[in-house]
């Protein structure tokens, strides 16, 4: 019979390999699923997972979708490692877009290379300010940051809506609830001519590199890990829990705010009420898919983006149900969690003869 046994030390290689196995299993399950649906399973899988990788345009779209996921995921993972559960990145994303966007709108008649960096900084500050609220409530009143950060998402979305209906509305826009389109200097430079791929992706890659350095080599990253794994040991070492909470929330807020700005100043090009489309929440899955490790998050972000793009393409090309993308994302998570159990334990074949 088969049995699960906890391991004292899960192997490193297995931890890296599980997401890979999860993807393989998802593909296998997808094959079965499409066969049952009466669709050509190999074509469907090809369209979802591989076709986008063969086209420049789709690859470019991949980076567009992956940029916010990676930026936000990298910040969230840091907090998750410390046991700081910022669930409200979506709100910080919106606050960042608002701050960065406001700078763009205030300066809309100016031009200059300095405007873009200023917008990014404003966006990060906006996200930080939004994340500072749960940080303050947690460190001061011991309020649970899961609840406070989540509730602030809705406040941020309503605030965005109120502002684009009011003060930020495009004066020449026929009363549509949208801001003015950002002018040339406020739009992120395009990386590949004819696509939407923008410099934000470079920022995301940079964020990954810095996050890696920070988590694996810097004292603060070390403190975060100790705090998350053994709070008493963190106390013994003398790390301040409050400082770690502040640091994690501010950093993840800043990155989510930056993502909001690159989204507004990238593919969207203005402030609209529909700006937040759930990147802040999907990034939570990305963070776990990437094992809370920066490089993993890079891959996880790209993979999630792939399911978005490929799923959409397959839906159109093969008239698949619209739930296809979400089913795939769900399966991915399911297999990942299942694989996790297997990594944390080991399966042993127990021959019956032991009894005799």
């Amino acid at each position: 019979m088969l049995r699960l046994e906890p391991r004292r030390e899960p192997s490193r290689a297995m931890q890296v390999l599980t997401p890979v196995f999860a993807v393989v299993l998802t593909i296998l399950a997808g094959l079965v699923l499409f066969a049952i649906l009466g669709k050509d399973p190999f074509r469907a899988i090809w369209l979802i997972f591989f076709e986008p990788l063969t086209q420049t345009y789709a690859l470019a779209e991949l980076t567009v979708k992956a940029t916010p996921l990676i930026l936000i995921g990298a910040g969230l993972a840091m907090g998750f490692r410390a046991g700081v559960w910022n669930i409200g990145a979506e709100g910080q994303f919106v606050a960042g877009a608002l701050a960065g966007g406001s700078v763009a709108l205030a300066l809309h008649e100016t031009a200059g290379l300095w405007i873009m960096p200023l917008m990014c900084i404003a966006g990060m500050l906006g996200g930080m300010a939004w994340a500072a609220i749960p940080a303050f409530l947690r460190t001061r009143f011991n309020a649970n940051e899961i609840l406070t950060s989540l509730m602030l998402v809705y406040v941020a979305i309503l605030l965005l809506s109120a502002l684009v209906h009011g003060p930020l509305r495009d004066p020449e826009g026929l009363n549509f609830p949208e801001s003015r389109l950002f002018s040339e200097s406020m739009i992120l430079p395009i990386l590949i001519e004819g696509t939407r791929a923008h410099v934000g992706f470079i920022l995301a890659l940079l964020a990954i590199a810095v996050a890696w350095l920070f988590m694996e080599r810097h004292l603060l990253g070390f403190q975060i890990k100790v705090q998350g794994q053994a709070p008493l040991a963190a106390r013994f070492a003398g790390y301040s829990e409050k400082r770690i909470v502040w640091m994690c929330l501010l950093t993840s807020g800043a990155l989510a705010g930056l993502a909001g700005t690159t989204e507004a100043a990238g593919p969207v090009g203005q402030l609209v009420p529909a700006l937040p489309i759930g990147y802040g929440f999907t990034a939570i899955i990305v963070a776990f898919l990437g094992r809370l490790h920066p490089f993993g998050i890079l891959l996880g972000g790209l993979l999630m983006a792939l399911t978005y793009i490929g799923g959409e393409a397959a839906q159109i090309a093969m008239s698949l149900p619209s739930a296809t993308t979400r089913v795939f994302q769900g399966m991915l998570l399911f297999f990942l969690l299942a694989m996790d159990v297997l990594v944390g334990s080991r399966v042993r074949w127990i021959p019956r003869t032991v009894h005799g």
Binding site: R3, E5, R8, E9, R217, H218, L219, L220, F222, K225, V226, Q229, A230, L232, A233, R235, F236, A237, G238, S240, R348, I350, V354, H355, G356
Partner: protein
């Protein structure tokens, strides 16, 4: 020989890089108290985990009362009447004693008047325990009582105890032994792991001795000396620890009117604690668990800051306001009681675990970036000098056996050559050879000019290494008197709190007043 209750035949179990159990066979008779002896990492805990169904053997078989026995999980072992007290406890801190006990029991047994039964069993066996206390507020010694009582409540036929007495006072040990003998008399067998050879000699009828995962000898402990038992375990002869006295120098650590309210609901407050520890001197603090040792340790480490900075002084400078790393920088190092989770992060490597407390003094970082190669080298030095058995410094702290992790944690602090070392239960769970080694390392440290403060419940140990001993009872500290002027009985009285206030009469160090 009594009827065999449990019989092991060729049990083998490997972990990556080690064969923890290698073809182990022996039997435990009904009503027998059977000792399992062996140095740190010999494979004792692994073996009893197999018996209790936590781990599975790679090969080999067991029979219980003549029938094949292969528990797949602890609940199956419990259903067969086997109870176990682990070396590292498995309690939930946020639950009460009664809730914890209920959780670890079969649901049928947990029904009815559990609280009443807890009180009944704990008083019957003299293991004072309030079922409504939060486990998080209990000291290690008290937590162990919870485990013991939980085990006893299930009317077991075989009780496995993995180092149950390492944190009990002599009186508590006496009571426990009475209990165990009575249980054995009632036909219950006991499989007993301990590094305290004297205890084994008076308690156990048979002993199986492991070394490197194999059975190397069996004997009747009563017919052996502690020395000969240790030599069987180690396979070599032991030299008795040196006991020459040192001449104390300057006062290095001074506690002056240290008072502190406990941060937990049921903890003991510290009340006007005064103490001086001089360079070259080892001062022991004796006391029954739960009399303020935990809080005192927190106060010394700096996990809780003192109200007045002068309450704790190092070389005449106030340090009571400094955080732990500030105190380390100033020259104080600490060995807390609980090694897994407090002194070490279980899932981090030994390399990372030295960064935890040795970063300051060993320069393991530069401009806030970690110097991992240097940390690995330091971890390697600790492993080498303290004979820590591990497959490598990149292995997780959790993968070490209890005693080996203790050696590592103590070594990590001693090798920082602090001016003051504060150690709580420094030899908890280490084998006789390693305990002697750690004690000698402490003595050597003192010889080199460090002021050493040892908080321990092990009176034999305190008498063996201390120059002066103070007693903590109810959050108050007696004077520290030279060991030559003290007897175990006097200490026992003070531990019971009979001597209230401060017996200034014998004062070697004058008690400091705020």
């Amino acid at each position: 020989m009594p009827e065999p209750l449990l019989e092991l035949d060729g049990i083998t179990r490997a972990f990556p890089g080690v064969l923890a159990n290698d073809d182990i066979s022996f039997r435990v008779g009904e009503g027998e108290i059977h000792a399992l002896l062996g140095e740190n990492g010999a494979g004792k805990s692994t073996l009893v985990k197999i018996i209790y169904g936590v781990l599975r053997p790679d090969a080999g078989a067991m029979t219980l009362r003549g029938k094949p026995f292969a528990p797949h999980r602890p609940s199956e072992a419990r259903a067969e009447g086997i109870g176990m007290i682990f070396q590292h406890f498995s309690l939930f801190e946020a639950l009460t004693v009664a809730e914890n006990i209920a959780l670890g029991m079969a649901p049928e047994l947990a029904k009815g008047d559990l609280r009443g039964r807890i009180v009944e069993v704990s008083t019957r066996y003299g293991l004072r325990l309030d079922p409504d206390l939060m486990v998080g507020d209990l000291s290690v010694g008290q937590r162990q009582r919870v485990e013991i009582v939980r085990c006893l409540l299930q009317d077991p036929q075989l009780i496995i105890m993995d180092e149950p007495t390492s944190v009990l006072t002599p009186q508590e040990v006496e009571v426990l032994f009475e209990t165990l003998r009575r249980l054995a008399g009632e036909g219950c067998s006991i499989l007993y792991i301990s590094h305290k050879l004297e205890e084994i000699r008076v308690l156990c009828e048979h002993a199986t001795i492991l070394r490197g995962g194999r059975v190397v000898a069996t004997c009747t402990p009563g017919e052996e000396t502690a020395r000969s038992l240790a030599e069987m375990m180690l396979g070599e002869s032991l030299s008795p620890p040196a006991t020459d006295r040192r001449t104390p120098g300057e006062v290095r650590l001074r506690l002056d009117g240290l008072s502190m309210a406990s941060d937990t609901q049921f903890g003991t407050d510290l009340d006007d604690i005064g103490l001086e520890v001089r360079s070259g001197e080892i001062v022991g603090i004796a006391g029954v668990a739960g009399n303020g040792q935990t809080l005192l340790m927190s106060a010394l480490i700096g996990e809780i800051r003192a109200e007045r900075r002068e309450a704790i002084q190092l070389d005449g400078r106030p340090v009571g306001h400094l955080p732990p790393h500030g105190r380390r920088k100033a020259g104080i190092c600490f060995v807390p009681e609980e090694r897994l989770g407090h002194a070490a992060v279980p899932d981090m490597s030994l390399t990372e675990n030295v960064i935890l407390s040795a970063r300051m003094r060993k320069n393991l970082s530069r401009n806030s970036f970690l110097n991992l190669p240097r940390a690995a080298r330091y971890a390697g030095d600790v492993v080498a000098r303290f004979g820590v058995k591990t497959a490598g410094v990149d292995h997780a702290a959790r993968s070490l056996s209890g005693g080996n992790l203790q050696k590592f944690v103590v070594g990590r602090e001693i090798m920082q050559e602090p001016s003051v070392l504060v150690a709580s239960q420094p030899t908890w769970g280490v084998d006789a050879g390693a305990a002697a080694f750690i004690q000698e390392a402490l003595i050597q440290l003192a010889k080199d000019g460090t002021a050493v403060l040892v908080i321990s419940q092990d009176l034999d140990e305190l008498f063996a290494i201390s120059d002066r001993i103070a007693v903590i009872a109810n959050g108050r500290l007696s004077t520290a008197d030279p060991v030559e002027e003290l007897t175990i009985e006097q200490i026992g009285l003070r531990m019971g709190g009979q001597v209230r206030g401060r017996p200034d009469t014998l004062g070697a160090a004058e008690p400091a007043h705020a």
